[in-house]
Each structure stands twice: as C-alpha cells, then as structure tokens.
C-alpha cells in the first residue's frame, strides 16, 4: 500500500484542519484528502457508499476503512505516528479510540464553531470554498 485517500467532511472546520495536519506531517505513505461528497471522490470510487456520516479512508488498492479504523490508518500513514497506530489498534486501546472518534464526529460542529472567527480564517474558508466549487460542491 503506497497511497491512501482520506474522504473528509469539507464543511467541518475541525476536519479541514485535521486534513491540513495530515498534509503537513512527514509521511511513509502518500495521503490525498478528498471532500467526501465531491466529484473527484465520486469519480475515483464509483461504487463506494458515501452516505454514512463517518470518516472514510480508501487505499490505492480499494480497501475501505471507516470510523476509528480510518483514523488508525491515517496515523499509520504518518512517519511519527505509526507506533501510535499500532498501539491504538490493540484490543486494550481500540475501544477507547473508537469512542473518542465517535464523540469527536458527533461534536465536530460545535468544535468547528470554536475555531471560526478571524478574517484570516474567513479568507482561508473562502479559498477552500473555491476548491470545493472546483470539486462540484458549490451551491448553484
């Protein structure tokens, strides 16, 4: 496995920042972030069910991971966090990782609310929305 696609929720500020974190970190496997409902994701994975409100990771070979497993695969792709991916996948910590990610997913709207505010962030969001338009996610 030499590439993973991370399908994330582009209108969630926290998710976008997490995606940025994934882009910035040194990697052992290349990571491509795709807005979950975008055209690129639909074109690349025509048979993938994208209705579930969950983080989804798809490998270059088509293996699909969702929820906490997707989060663990994201960590596994990062050079400095592979050890953590290994630890979190063990039976003792895996339920904790699952609960933490479910809780994060449920409250991501609230968390994003805390992060919005400054003009700089507004500019970033507008730039991001252009990216989303290119990906077919603009309002008509």
């Amino acid at each position: 496995m030499d590439r993973i696609y991370v399908l994330y929720d582009p209108v969630c500020e926290v998710c976008r920042r997490c995606m940025q974190f994934l882009r910035d970190e040194p990697k052992l496997v290349s990571i491509e972030g795709l807005p979950r409902d975008g055209l690129t994701a639909a074109r690349l994975f025509p048979d993938l069910d994208r209705s579930a409100d969950d983080l989804v990771v798809v490998s270059g070979e088509g293996a699909v991971y969702s929820g906490a497993d997707a989060f663990i695969v994201c960590l596994w792709a990062l050079r400095d966090y592979r050890g953590w991916a290994d630890r979190l996948s063990r039976p003792t910590l895996r339920p904790l990782a699952r609960r933490a990610l479910e809780s994060f997913s449920r409250h991501r709207g609230v968390l994003s609310g805390f992060l919005r505010g400054s003009d700089e962030e507004l500019r970033d969001r507008l730039q991001a929305s252009e990216e989303l338009c290119d990906d077919g996610l603009c309002a008509p």
Partner: protein, 131 residues
C-alpha cells in the same frame, strides 16, 4: 599485603567477566541487529561495535570506581568475603547492562518492522478504484 592482592584478583575476575559478557553480546546480538537494519550488515556491524564499546566503558568504569575498600583485611576469609560482595555487584551491573542492551536491540528491531508493516486494522470492505 592482603589488600593489593585482593584488588588484583578483583580486577582480573571483573574484567574477565566483562569481556566474556561483551563478546557474547557481540556474537549473539549480530543476527538480531542485521534483521533490525533490514539486512544492512555494514550498519549492523557498526552499531554492534559501538554498543560493545559503550558496554566496556560503563562496566570497566564501574569496576574501577567500586574497587576501593575501607575495610581492613586480616585473614583469607575476609578477603574472599570482600571479593564476593564486590564481584556480586559487578555481576548485577553487568546483568542490568545486558538487559538494557537487549531492550535497545528490541526497540531498534521493532521500529524497523513498523516502517514496513501493513496497516494494523483490517479493511471493512473493498471498492473499485477508477484510475
């Protein structure tokens, strides 16, 4: 006269023990390190030698520092008792260092294995990827 002889015997036994453990470590640790460095024998040999040098320095340093005694030695029994307690400490330090080295080997090996490991979780399903 008893004290210098005891010191001399202590040094001989301690250094011989250190050399024996270091040689064992050097010989038996090599395959472990070769695997840890993904078959790169040059790096494995280099790390192996460096670890053994560190092992010698720490142990002979301890042996030298722990040599001096304030006890007055009047008969053979006292000499043997002193030797036993000093060499016992040296053996414990050697054992501790040996396990520490094993721990270092295991860590190096694990981190190399992680770099080439597949994802630690199984995929939920498979989907078609269009190029």
């Amino acid at each position: 006269m008893a004290k210098p002889v005891t010191y001399f015997v202590y040094l001989i036994i301690s250094i011989a023990l250190t050399a024996w453990v270091a040689r064992t470590l050097h010989r038996s640790g090599r395959p472990f390190l070769v695997e840890a460095f993904a078959g790169n024998q040059e790096i494995a040999d280099s790390v192996n030698s460096l670890l053994v040098v560190g092992f010698y320095l720490v142990n002979i340093g301890y042996v030298a520092l722990a040599m001096k005694t304030g006890a007055s030695l009047t008969d053979l029994a006292q000499c043997v008792e002193l030797l036993a307690s000093k060499i016992g400490r040296v053996l414990l330090v050697l054992g501790g260092m040996h396990f520490f080295n094993l721990y270092v080997f295991a860590r190096i090996r694990r981190s190399t294995q992680l770099t080439t490991a597949p994802p630690p979780v199984r995929p939920a399903s498979f989907t078609k990827v269009s190029a």
